[in-house]
Symmetry: C2
Subunit: 198 residues, 2 copies
Amino acid sequence: MAPRNSNKKRTKPIRTQILDAALHLYSSKGYFNASIHDIQREADVSMGSIYNHFSGKEAIAKALYDDLLGEMEALVDDSIADHDTAASRCRATIKALFEHTESEPEKTGFILNARHREFLTDEAPICSSQAFVKMRDIVHAGVRSGEVRDMQPWTAASMAFGPALRMIVLRLDGMIEHPLPESLDEVWSLTWDAIKAR
Amino acid sequence: MAPRNSNKKRTKPIRTQILDAALHLYSSKGYFNASIHDIQREADVSMGSIYNHFSGKEAIAKALYDDLLGEMEALVDDSIADHDTAASRCRATIKALFEHTESEPEKTGFILNARHREFLTDEAPICSSQAFVKMRDIVHAGVRSGEVRDMQPWTAASMAFGPALRMIVLRLDGMIEHPLPESLDEVWSLTWDAIKAR
DNA sequence: GTCTATAATCCGATAGAC
DNA sequence: GTCTATCGGATTATAGAC
């Protein structure tokens, strides 16, 4: 039979079609409730195409995870590159995460909410990923330079990013009804007041 | 055949055996990777007993969820009953959660980490549960009494409990290597400094 | 490379003896 | 009430045509 996408100019590569469909289904139903048949239907491709591009169901989730965690790490990297103090770097990271939550809620939810270790075999905890370690290191560098009060590295990271991460979860769950960037200044000034050296 | 537990005095009721086994398996493998056969083996009871006590797999998770969320709500209720200011109530709640994390890490993880909406049909988001709403209300009452700075209710709750909740996740994931109660005073004094009226 | 149809497996739930 | 054995259905993955 004629390939499903051969007669019209394809807007997205098949790999992207599949990953987009998977992200949407994982967000709405969760990984285990989304069968590959669901993904196949949602992406409007065949089973053959799925298994031509990915070795199996877990590989789809793994590719998505790596892609999205990479995007998040890039947000952190940009925040570091564009600023030169712990305070401004933290604030820029939170700003980027808040904006990412509004523009790509499904991506943000997949990274922050999903229990990856339940479906990705031998994956390390997400807190040990580069993105989260770099966030911790921003604050810890501030401790070493005297800009931030003396604290254990993970305590400092929890103080700096805990409130913002909590608000992202509440926003994704529909508890907070206004866009997060509107709260950035308030949250950040309170947060920074708590941890800055004095 | 003779009932599996009939010849020795049973230490725990069968319902409890099943729920304990389920909690342990959910913690280590996740709900969807733990089959009913796994639970049956781990609890050392038969399939017949499982279905005599519960209507199905989801009902086990639902019972566990209700039990554990009830325990957590009781911790919050006690913290409210034993204290009379927003500050001391918040601190007591965080203290109880930190201790609960150390004494019952699997229970704490099931409540704070698991994606319940993926396996409990028609369950509201956990943030809207009584335990979490009461935590928010403790802080919001402080706002209304002038003890806490003026903020949106969920913002105030995120500021008050976000760092502590983040530390619990990091502790459960093995990133933080010392018992959380050791960090209570440091975390709470910084947190309270950030939100108290001045 | 893409497609449909099918195979192999696993899981939740039930039947029926005791 | 507890037990074992089994069924039906869903799911992942593959075979083989085009």
